[in-house]
Amino acid sequence: MIEITDYPIDPESLRESLADDGAGGFCTFEGWVRNRNEGRAVRRLEYEAYAPVAIAEGARVIGEAMQRFPFLGARCVHRIGTLEIGELAVWVGVTAPHRDEAFKACRYIIDEIKVRLPIWKKEHYVDGDSGWVNCERCAAHAGE
């Protein structure tokens, strides 16, 4: 249901894997690597994860989404390693009989994954500097 990969994510094969005759709605979220963050020009990102805990916690998130917004199928893949601007960092897909559950479950899964799974993102800036995202103290250290 949730995977961590250091290979490029293939949305088409993920979409096909969720095919279901009972599904009337399919909702996806794709997280892309953007060229700016908080006013700074970003050259590339580096993602790191601790897979054993990320996969277990991700399964809990998907289970919670199923209880709240009963869906038919859900998959999530998060990329790790070095990613260039425009690359796909995370993919979430949900099928449900109707669109409402698909939208809500997809939103729940991506929102929880961002704050609960042990996944870290280091930004490498165009000016040569770098920093871990969401880590203000860390940024202070980097300047020392």
Partner: protein, 80 residues
């Protein structure tokens, strides 16, 4: 005293300059391990922003630690 293996991730690994070490510590909880390793490696990230796992299971800072446990220290996460 307990033998505790501590694993550091992302910025914690960079601060510590290593990804793992086994220490002999006088500790009762995951919080104690975090505080002792923080002073050891000069990090001051507040625990409220961080997470901890004991032997691959997410835990609370007040969770007890046993001799031989592996404590995983996770700095603020940023998936997606």
């Amino acid at each position: 005293m307990k033998n505790i293996t501590v694993r550091y991730f992302a910025m914690f690994r960079e601060h510590a300059g290593l990804s793992e070490e086994t220490l002999r510590l006088d500790v009762a909880t995951a919080r104690d391990v975090f505080e002792q390793t923080r002073s050891r490696h000069g990090s001051d990230e507040p625990e409220g922003h961080c997470k901890v796992a004991i032997n691959d299971a997410l835990a609370d800072w007040s969770s007890p630690v046993q001799d031989g446990d592996t404590i995983l220290l996770f700095p603020p996460v940023a998936g997606g």
